[in-house]
């Protein structure tokens, strides 16, 4: 698969897909999208990069081990639920704040943190599997 064209295009394609995955993640609150599908898109972006340029560049590029990323996501998701202990509501209750930044109102919530956690879990675990399979293929 390591053709010249693919290798040249792959970094741009990957960065575009990762960007799009973040977009899908953020739009997921009120429209189709969300952490799971965003994570899948990002994971497939990394998988494409892995197919084009080999597995070790991918591992270098994401700096952390994929499972560590998944772990961080899990932690984030659990943490998003725990925040509610501080405002005396049950576990996992969605809490909202509406800060105004540069005249634009931002709707931030614990659900968003949870969704980012899901994104990272999916990204980490799928990337981990995909990279493991790609590594094996070359042996």
């Amino acid at each position: 698969m390591r053709t010249l064209i693919f290798r040249t295009v792959a970094p741009y394609l990957t960065s575009l897909m990762v960007l799009y995955s973040v977009f899908v993640l953020l739009r997921g609150h009120n429209e189709p999208g969300g952490g799971f599908i965003g994570g899948l898109i990002a994971a497939s972006a990394l998988a494409i990069y892995g197919i084009a340029c080999g597995v070790s560049p991918v591992r270098r590029a994401i700096r952390f081990h994929p499972m560590a990323i998944a772990g961080f996501g899990l932690f984030l998701a659990a943490f998003a639920g725990v925040i509610s202990i501080f405002v005396d509501v049950p576990f996992l209750t969605g809490l909202w704040i509406y800060p105004v930044l540069f005249g634009v109102e931002l709707k931030l919530s614990t659900t968003l943190i949870f969704d980012i956690g899901v994104y990272l879990v999916v990204l980490g675990s799928i990337t981990s599997t995909a990279l493991a399979l790609e590594e094996r293929e070359r042996d």
Binding site: F36, S125, T129, A132, L133
Partner: protein, 125 residues
């Protein structure tokens, strides 16, 4: 509509049970994947197939207008799909590794954990 989907579900179950009864692990695996799909359809049908109108309540109403799709089975099916997907991925890797290590995909030949020629326990000192 429910009848049609129920028949389809029956076909899914039929195929998957046939595949699971096979001796070859890869067929069993495919059977399990089919079984998962059959179950998803079962859940979907159990929630009654009503209308394809999205279950969204307008800004000026408290209850949905007539005839919306039941959102709960969709949520359940989505969860079940995600779970089935991750299990299938895991099983695929596991079965592949097993095939590489044991050099067989025949469950009748997979006797490493329970060897066929196991000694009987000692009867005395």
């Amino acid at each position: 509509m429910e009848v049609a989907v129920a028949v389809l579900t029956g076909v899914f179950f039929f195929v998957s049970i046939y595949l699971i009864l096979s001796r070859h692990i890869i067929r069993i695996l495919l059977g399990i994947a089919m079984l998962g799909n059959g179950v998803n359809l079962t859940i979907f049908t159990a929630g009654r197939i009503t209308r394809e109108v999205p279950p969204i309540i307008g800004a000026d109403a408290y209850v949905p207008l007539e005839g919306i799709a039941n959102p709960l089975p969709q949520a359940l099916v989505l969860t079940a799909i995600v779970i089935a997907f991750s299990f299938f991925a895991f099983l695929l890797v596991l079965v592949f590794r097993t095939y590489q290590e044991l050099d067989t995909d025949d469950t009748g030949e997979m006797r490493y954990a329970e060897p066929r020629d196991e000694e009987t326990p000692p009867l005395g000192y």
